[in-house]
């Protein structure tokens, strides 16, 4: 443990870099605008900035940090990535530790590096299986019978796998959402003779594509006054929903 020594003159360039490192992780892994802004602000102040001006737009972040008359402005591109609650919580803890003085600037940088290097707890196939079963559970919530749960789980797991494979190849949501919805609906539609409640099974089969995080963060941004970012998130959500409806309606024409 190194004793936290207050440096006489913290370097504004380093403060801006670390604050952006933390905020980019939050922004990309599913934080809303208020959380990203707070991360920039709290990190920079904890590292010794007197004044912090942060800007959070949907695809890039910027910050101007002032320390005793010296100032530094930095911008960073931050395209959207998958939701990752491990990273979100990790940055939260790292910033708390920094504010409480439990880690210094170097320790903070190491914590962030660690978060970047081990981001996933669960293998992709396991996620596909559990997401499939989650959609099966939805079929039950929609008053489907046990066979509806079973076929929805199979269809949604296959659809989820398609989504993962396409997203891995960097296809945009408007490509992978229809493709995944098509596969899930087709599989459930072909097996619908096995269940007495095909409606519940079909309705539940595509719910793995519901853009829960963009919609909820969009609402949070609307409520906190970040109207432009809210519109971007809600538009992202709408693209998912339209893509989902497109893939689903093509498959329904084949099987219903």
């Amino acid at each position: 443990m190194d004793v936290p020594q207050p440096q006489p003159l913290p370097d504004p360039a380093r403060i801006a870099k670390l604050a952006l490192d933390a905020a980019v992780l939050v922004h990309q892994s599913g934080g809303d605008t208020a959380r990203t802004t707070a991360t920039l602000d709290r990190t920079a102040r904890a590292l010794g900035a007197r004044r912090v001006d942060a800007i959070v737009s949907s695809l890039s972040l910027g910050v101007t940090v002032s320390v005793d008359g010296r100032q530094e402005t930095a911008l960073r591109r931050a395209p959207h990535m998958g939701v990752n609650f491990r990273v979100l919580s990790g940055v939260n803890r790292a910033v708390n530790a920094l504010e409480a003085g439990r880690v210094g600037a170097n320790g903070f940088a190491t914590l962030l590096d660690d978060l970047e290097s081990y981001p996933h707890y669960y293998p992709a196939w396991l996620v596909a299986v559990f997401v499939g079963f989650a959609c099966g559970a939805f079929a039950a919530l929609f008053h489907g019978d046990l066979m509806a749960v079973a076929i929805t789980s199979i269809g949604a797991a296959l659809g989820m796998r398609v989504r993962q494979l396409l997203a891995m190849r960097h296809f945009k949501p408007f490509v992978f959402a229809p493709a995944a919805a098509f596969v899930a609906t087709l599989v459930v539609g072909l097996l619908q003779g096995l269940t007495g409640t095909p409606q519940a099974a079909l309705a539940a089969s595509v719910l793995f594509l519901i853009p829960g995080v963009p919609l909820i963060n969009g609402a949070a941004d609307l409520l906190s006054g970040s109207y432009l970012n809210a519109l971007v998130r809600l538009t992202m959500g709408a693209v998912f929903v339209v893509g989902l409806a497109l893939g689903m309606s093509v498959a329904l024409r084949i099987v219903v």
């Binding site: 707070a38 609650f85 996933h120 707890y121 499939g132 099966g136 519901i210 329904l252």
Partner: protein, 149 residues
């Protein structure tokens, strides 16, 4: 299955999405429990005569508030619990009915009446949008009210 037992299916539904969002393993059970609490609360509210939109809003507010409190206790970010637990209240059936009706509408032959499909599509879209709105605002509100600074 009875209405109350069906709510237990909210747990696996939330669990799948928690895995998708890479929630830490120690957070999984709390997300599943919160999801069941939210679903049951909505069922109880609807049982007393409250409509599904208001019921969703109140249940979502409860989930958001509990998630914020629990997140502070276990030092994780609140969305880990709140968003995973909100997912089982997504109005999937209304959304499906809307898509289905729109599809029928576009495939009508000349001279057929569009009215039943228009009504179905309109009802489905409005209902789904209202429930989603209630859900997202309800989940987002508590963390904004309770956040430090």
């Amino acid at each position: 299955m009875s209405t109350w037992l069906i709510s237990l299916w909210a747990a696996p539904a939330a669990l799948g999405f928690a895995l998708l969002f890479n929630a830490p393993p120690r957070a999984l059970w709390a997300a599943a429990v919160l999801a069941v609490i939210g679903r049951l609360l909505r069922d109880v509210l609807m049982h007393t005569g409250i409509d599904i939109t208001l019921g969703t809003l109140l249940a979502a507010l409860a989930i958001g508030g509990l998630a914020e409190l629990w997140a502070r206790r276990v030092r994780l970010a609140a969305p880990v619990f709140a968003i995973s637990a909100a997912i089982p209240m997504v109005p999937g059936v209304s959304m499906y009915e809307a898509v289905h009706a729109l599809m029928k509408l576009s495939g009508l032959a000349a001279g057929q009446s569009a009215e039943p499909y228009l009504v179905d599509a309109g009802t489905g879209i409005v209902r789904a949008a209202m429930i989603l709105l209630a859900l997202t605002i309800g989940i987002a509100m508590p963390s904004l009210l309770m956040r430090k600074r």
